[in-house]
């Protein structure tokens, strides 16, 4: 039996993280969370999570950044909004999950070759480049980055899709691609200017 000491000192808290979560979009009412557990009860994926949504809310507002950003839970969330519509305090839990995902990706709190952040990155690059997503190429690129072996495992599925003509390989794109780049650039400069 391995002994594990789990006292948390106030120095273990990250006040910046606690401040950030209660001031980011959707987190305005996180201090009001009663810890009632209705979000976890409604969440279809809470049964697999290491920290249920309720626990994540409390850990986040107290500033336990390590635990929150390295949890499995934030990647399991499918953003189905079941938690948010039930919450008796109107806390936008789904949006906070998005914010935590974004921060975890930015600060690289995930195992290498973990498919979800890889997908987020590949998706974003494809969108910025072409304005639209070509599903087939997106999936290929994700598997190339994550696990070649898995890709071969999906070959049966691939053949099924090819046969039913649902797999298209022609690159989808919009006409005015420069508009996408301009939009992204405008947002980037605005964020800097508004210190967001």
């Amino acid at each position: 039996m391995e002994l594990k000491r789990t006292v948390k000192f106030e120095a273990d808290r990250d006040p910046e993280f606690a401040y950030w979560i209660s001031h980011t979009v959707g987190g305005e009412r996180i201090r009001h969370c009663l810890q009632c557990g209705m979000c976890s009860g409604a969440c279809p994926l809470s049964l697999y999570m290491d920290y249920t949504p309720r626990r994540l809310m409390h850990l986040s507002r107290e500033g336990f950044k390590e635990e929150v950003l390295s949890s499995f839970s934030i990647w399991l969330c499918t953003c189905c909004y079941a938690c948010m519509v039930e919450c008796p305090k109107d806390i936008n839990i789904t949006h906070l999950m998005y914010a935590l995902k974004e921060r975890a990706i930015r600060e690289k709190f995930y195992p290498k070759r973990f498919p979800i952040p890889v997908m987020a990155r590949e998706f974003a690059h494809m969108l910025l480049r072409s304005g639209r997503i070509t599903e087939s190429w997106l999936v290929l690129r994700i598997f190339l980055h994550c696990s070649l072996l898995r890709l071969f495992g999906m070959s049966k599925l691939g053949i099924k899709l090819l046969r039913s003509k649902r797999l298209r390989f022609a690159h989808e794109h919009i006409e005015r691609r420069e508009e996408i780049k301009k939009l992204a650039e405008s947002v980037r400069t605005a964020k800097e200017r508004m210190a967001l």
Partner: protein
């Protein structure tokens, strides 16, 4: 402390000699406003003879200071700049009357709630205080002497609502020898408490402790009990309320009915046909019925919506036959309108339970074995639809029961408040259901709220009895099985927050602990009696701590659950308090009303009658002989509507005369 003697001025009224007093109110005002500066400034104002500042003007030394100055300096007007008039206007007016000055030669300036408590900027707040004081000084110079109106208090009391609150208040007042009119909408008194099985924390049988009081009410010589009746109109003012009450027809002559119930047995319907309201629809009753066995008054009622005779006029009328000897059934009975005069009114209209259909994820109405707590009270009650046997709608007996706390409460989507009693009654139901069925009981709660006397011991007792407590608000009640053991059951899905994982618990019966809400017609009631209620619908007390049963309307008191969610001990305490308030007024025999009434200057009035329909209190009438408007000072409440509406400006209101108001405005806007 600076003083200044003013030069006399040409003024229409007595030359004013004003004393200004600026209060520190400890730190409440002094921390934000430079009170010495304000007092010094006031000293330089026209007609101000004395100007002082002091730590606590409302204290005895503070008041004595004013009295001394009135004697020494011949002051005849006083301005006190301190807190809200609601708190101490009366105090300072009494100071004036003790010094033989008319108490309305006084003006109070609120530099606390209106200045120091709402601003951070010291310089700006001090300037504002000076502006307000200047305005008051200019106004007070024009004050006229006024006398409060003294009105007698009629010793009769009207109590609206015959639940435990109304019953207790009625008995208290009746025992004091005063006449009580108790008006109740339902055919019987008793309210919600009559439906309960046992009450927490003593597990007293609700009916056993309630019915003796109900019988006392029915038999008391000083209580006129009008059930199946509703208040229609209220006119008048404290001490003299004229109330119109409609007595709905029972189609039974009350004085003749002895409650033998032969008519019910004889009814052409052999079995019940209509949802029994007392049993919350769990059983059926006949169109002719008695609400419940211990109903007071023990008089039968006929429901015209469901009685064949009223719908088709083709009934054999076996009920009339059964009562041939006494002849108590009168199918032609009409509603009766009663008009009474009372001095005070107590509102004890009660509450309603949250409709669980507003929370569809709990399955009420979709799954037949989901019940509300009130329905379960009837189910476990020996006089209920199943005689106390817990038999579900599908005929089975439950072996596992889930009790869900906080249904409708503590939720931004439905009701924000905590309903105070649900944790306790959920524990009570857990105990009673376990006793009746031996089932596995699960209570799902967010916080366990047991604040009253012996309540925590009651919780301990339930912990002893092996009830499962799962801390987690239930997300859904569904009937689809994710595991073979769940087949055919209702599944409760919740996170067990203390264990930190999700649990699925299959049960046979789900009990929803529904919260308390104001009655649907709360806003109509408050309009009729001219009291206020919050946006939620709870009737508003005058002060949450110091005046919980008074309202802002003199002579009208509130008690019980209509004021907010509460349990029976608190309800009875409030009912006693309201009775005491009413008796206190009755004992005094009269009350002084503020003299802020309107008066018509006959020489200016042109008889256009614009003011007559404006008055919300019907206090203005036309003097036919003179063709002039005439205000009944006794009915007038001083709202000012007529004074504002009069096209010829011939109506003036005491204490709010045009000149006084213009001086005040000028004082605020112009720097001296």
């Amino acid at each position: 402390m600076p003083e200044q003697v003013t030069t006399s001025e040409n003024s229409v009224r007595d030359p004013a000699r004003i004393g200004v007093y600026v209060c520190h109110c400890g730190n409440n005002i002094a921390a934000t406003i430079a009170v010495d500066e304000v007092a010094q400034y006031a000293a330089g104002l026209n007609k101000v003879v004395v100007s002082r500042e002091y730590k606590y003007m409302c204290s005895e030394p503070g008041q004595a200071m004013i009295e001394q100055d009135i004697r020494d300096h011949g002051l005849n007007r006083i301005v006190v700049a301190s807190c809200s008039p609601l708190l101490h206007e009366r105090t300072f007016r009494e100071v004036l009357s003790r010094s033989n000055l008319n108490s309305f030669y006084f003006q109070m300036v609120n530099i606390r709630e209106h200045a120091s408590w709402i601003h951070d900027n010291r310089a700006a707040a001090t300037e504002k205080a000076k502006d307000l004081v200047r305005a008051a000084v200019r106004r007070v110079a024009l004050h006229r002497p006024l006398e409060p109106r003294r009105v007698p208090i009629d010793p009769a009391v009207l109590i609206v609502g015959g639940g435990i609150a109304g019953i207790h208040a009625a008995l208290t007042i009746a025992n004091a020898g005063k006449q009580v009119y108790l008006v109740e909408r339902e055919p019987t008194i008793g309210g919600h408490m009559a439906k309960f099985d046992k009450t927490f924390p003593t597990l007293d049988c609700a009916a056993c402790i309630l019915t003796p009081k109900m019988t006392s009410v029915g038999a008391h010589p000083n209580i006129k009990l009008w059930t199946y009746s509703e208040v229609m109109k209220v006119d008048g003012y404290v001490g003299n309320y004229k109330v119109t009450i409609r007595r709905n027809p029972r189609y039974i002559i009350e004085d003749l009915c002895i409650g033998c119930q032969e008519c019910i047995t004889a009814c052409v319907y052999k079995a019940g046909k209509v949802d029994d309201e007392f049993n919350l629809g769990l059983s059926k009753r006949k169109p002719i019925y008695l609400a419940f066995p211990q109903a007071v008054p023990q008089k039968v009622v006929i429901d015209p919506e469901n009685c064949i005779e009223f719908k088709s006029h083709r009934c054999k009328k076996t009920c009339v036959e059964a009562c041939a000897e006494r002849g108590a059934i009168d199918l032609n009975q009409k509603e009766e309108i009663k008009e009474i005069t009372v001095g005070t009114v107590i509102l004890s209209t009660g509450f309603k339970t949250f409709d669980p259909r507003r929370r569809p994820n709990y399955g009420y109405g979709r799954f037949q074995n989901v019940y509300t707590s009130l329905e379960v009270e009837r189910l476990i009650n020996a006089s209920g639809p199943t005689g106390g046997d817990v038999i579900l709608r599908d005929g089975t007996r439950p072996q596992s029961i889930g009790i869900i706390h906080c249904v409708g409460s503590r939720d931004h989507n439905t009701n924000r408040w905590c309903s105070k009693v649900c944790c306790m009654y959920s524990l009570k139901l857990a105990h009673l259901l376990k006793e009746h069925t031996g089932a596995e009981i699960y209570n799902f709660y967010i916080d366990m709220r047991t604040p009253g006397k012996n309540y925590e011991d009651f919780y301990d007792r339930m912990l002893d009895e092996g009830v499962h407590f799962v801390r987690g608000r239930v997300a859904e009640v569904s009937d689809w099985a994710a595991h073979p053991s769940e087949k055919g059951k209702l599944i409760i899905r919740a996170e067990d927050t203390l264990a930190a994982f999700v649990r699925r618990i299959p049960v046979d019966m789900v009990v929803l602990s529904v919260g308390m809400e104001p009655k649907e017609d709360a806003h109509d009631v408050r309009r009729m009696f001219n009291v206020s209620c919050s946006s939620d619908g709870w009737l508003t007390e005058r002060h949450p701590k110091l005046a919980p049963v008074n309202t802002l309307t003199d002579g009208i008191f509130i008690c019980g659950a209509c004021q907010g969610p509460k349990d029976i001990p608190e309800t009875v305490a409030q009912a006693g308090a309201a009775a005491a308030e009413a008796l206190s007024l009755i004992s005094a025999g009269c009350i002084d009303l503020e003299p802020y009434t309107a008066k018509v200057m006959e020489e200016v009035c042109c008889g256009c009658k614009t003011c007559i329909p404006m008055c919300p209190y019907d206090a203005i009438s036309v003097d036919e002989a003179k063709q002039k408007a005439c205000v009944n000072e006794v009915l007038c409440k001083g709202c000012g509507t007529c004074a504002a509406a009069c096209p010829s400006g011939s109506i003036e209101q005491n204490f709010f005369e045009d000149e006084e108001i213009f001086e005040e405005i000028a004082g605020v806007l112009t720097h001296a």
